[in-house]
Symmetry: C2
């Protein structure tokens, strides 16, 4: 017998038939002898509908009231799933965010979980009752409703799993696991049996949106074993144990699984970055701070930064990337400060893509990078910038080459499935 948390997203909860299907999957786990808590999202489209009402009410709407409005979506699905489970003969009840409660800070619309009171929850589960918990919801110290930000239900599920000491947190999505790359781009992409938290974070932050990044960070911090699997594979709702999903675990546990490790775990692409170059900046201490200080103050997240040594006359060029959505603000901020920073030209380019190869098995960046650069050069793909982290090498290229680059690298690192077309 294990204690497990199961989480179902909006697509799985969209309408009566799908919720009934979820109820059968959940009941299958209980029938297998497990204690089960389920975390649910709102029906697909419902949160958008509610957010839209808020925008129409007041473009600068009060985030505290926004939370009251949008939390209603998960309240509905949690009550409905409890009913569906009862209709199948299980004991079940809903536990709203304020009932547990899920305590958060008071950063409305993007709250962070402080703690979850789990005593009543555990007692109920031990008595054979399936606990149905709306994701996304929390409660401040002065009893106002909070929400965790879009996609927050993944984080709710991991937090509940940590609070009740669950053996596993199963995240059901509309994909059946984490792949070596996006299967829509590379038909030979392979599903991974397991990845580490660190790898998942890198894959998520560079465009593989299977899980919300915050939920992976929390799982890593609380050492919660997360499994990604599909709620759409089988009409007969088998127990989740029999569906091979992807486990997201610690480095140590991954080694214990004794699998044949690849050098590289996956390839990710992200087209939502834009490149900014400032030319002929004075190569003196503090110059760079005058660029990035104002961007940090404006909450613009700068990713890659490349500065070459001065070419001549004590001047240099600086290139960096920002989210494409922040490009206009970045441009305005830098133009305002042209005198102060002292650059010659400001060049912006949103037609770029960041391609990353990720893997904890990456012993030496040099070897990985060399393979990468050669593979891309062989196809005539020009590298505009390079950055590395502990378990990742990223390059910036022209975005028209995105799919080609991903396919080329997927082959170059030996990730192509042998039996696929």
């Amino acid at each position: 017998m294990a204690r497990i948390v199961m989480k179902f997203g909006g697509t799985s909860m969209a309408g009566t038939e799908r919720i009934r299907r979820v109820a059968r999957i959940v009941q299958g786990q209980q029938a297998a002898g497990h204690e089960v808590a389920v975390v649910v999202s709102a029906m697909a489209g419902e949160t958008d509908r509610l957010v839209n009402f808020c925008r129409e009410a007041d473009p600068l709407h009060d985030p505290a009231e926004y939370d009251v409005v949008v939390a209603a979506g998960e309240q509905v699905t949690s009550g409905l799933l409890a009913m569906h489970l009862q209709a199948l003969g299980s004991k079940a009840r809903s536990w709203l965010g304020w009932q547990l409660p899920v305590r958060t800070d008071d950063a409305h619309a993007k709250a962070r979980i402080d703690s979850i009171d789990s005593d009543a929850l555990i007692a109920s589960m031990q008595a054979g009752e399936i606990a149905v918990i709306p994701g996304f919801q929390g409660l401040t110290e002065d009893n106002r409703v909070t929400t965790l930000g879009r996609g927050g239900s993944d984080t709710s599920a991991v937090a509940v799993a940590a609070a009740i000491g669950a053996d596993r947190c199963d995240i059901y999505t509309d994909v059946d696991g984490v792949y070596t790359t996006d299967p829509r781009i590379v038909s030979k992409a392979q599903k991974l049996k397991a990845v580490t938290y660190e790898e998942m974070l890198e894959l998520a932050s560079v465009g593989s949106k299977v899980l919300q990044t915050r939920s992976v960070s929390l799982a890593m911090k609380e050492n919660v074993r997360v499994q990604v699997l599909s709620s759409f594979i089988d009409d007969d709702a088998p127990a989740a144990d029999t569906i091979p999903g992807t486990m997201i675990v610690s480095d140590e546990e991954l080694e214990g699984l004794d699998m044949e490790r690849q050098l590289i775990t996956g390839i990710a692409a992200d087209k939502n970055e834009a490149k900014v170059t400032l030319t002929r900046i004075a190569d003196r201490p503090g110059a760079v701070a005058t660029i990035f200080g104002p961007l940090a103050d404006a909450n613009i997240n700068v990713d890659m930064i490349i500065q070459n040594i001065a070419k001549d006359k004590g001047e240099t060029d600086v290139t960096f990337t920002v989210p494409a959505a922040d490009l206009a603000r970045t441009q305005a901020l830098l133009e305002e400060r042209k005198e102060q920073i002292g650059y010659y030209r400001l060049i912006c380019d949103s037609k770029v893509a960041k391609i990353s190869v990720v893997g904890v098995g990456m012993k030496s960046h040099a070897g990985v990078a060399a393979t990468m650069f050669k593979a891309l050069a062989d196809r005539g793909i020009n590298i505009q910038a390079i950055s590395t982290s502990e378990i990742k090498v990223s390059v910036l290229i022209e975005d028209d080459y995105t799919e080609l680059a991903v396919r080329v690298l997927h082959s170059a690192y030996g990730l192509d499935a042998k039996d696929a077309a």
Copy 2:
């Protein structure tokens, strides 16, 4: 300065434009110097949508989970109205049923309010904040969500008014007051300036569905002055004081208003009754109990009961009315007990209507009844049964004559407006 509660129904809350309109009306009251609490329903159609999901989930759904699901509708509109008020520059916040809390019994889906903690509410209102309260919602002692039954927001509004000692509870509806009869039937119907709680109860219970009956009973018990008025009269959202609605008050207060009292206040019609006759029942003690005991046990609400003295052979006929929706169950129950009750024939008729004349000014039933019977007889309308209460005379007629009977009586008691067509 007064302290007032304003209540808006689902039609008034249906969509962004209408909620904005409600916000302007509410702000108008605050601008007039009043302390304001607002009670809101879910958007028109939303509760039906949620109830339907519950029925699809489980025909015998758990009423505790039903309450979790349907309470979400009012949660959404309360948050949205608070935002709209803020957008107009007012201070406002939502207070959900569990936040106040509105304490109820644990009769889920039809809970009754025990108490409302009003300290925080009053403090917030005194600080100039408009309190927005979702109607319909409550909380049991063990912190489960309850709802008060369909139409329960009227009751929530009156209960809040009683709890905060409001000077007035304004119920905004899609009609602009209480009329001498249904204006769709009688074009000369007049809006009443004021009626007593008792009159309103009789008018409501016989088909004039302006207010939920329970809300009127509660207002009478707690002596809350209720005003019915329209949220659709004027595009420029004048202060409610300037819109002539109908006040619902105690007998004493009505006398204080020093208006010219009519003998009869209004005429109501109800087509939702069915007539049941049992023939040739033994005229002995206890015989009637064998009929009505089982109906009471089955929660079937019997209204008029007519039994004449025995004609011959110690036998008599008994006629009574039940809600048309309960006719099939009533018939089944009585057929099962044919031996035990000992009747000859069971005759059911759902093609009947109950026409009632209501008025606290009714000094003698005889005079009122005589006028009624003569007016109906003059038009050839046959009276099938008669019943009276303190302030009401009701007759049962064939339902095809409903509108004719209402028009005839409206004229007979001098209620026709002089300036109307």
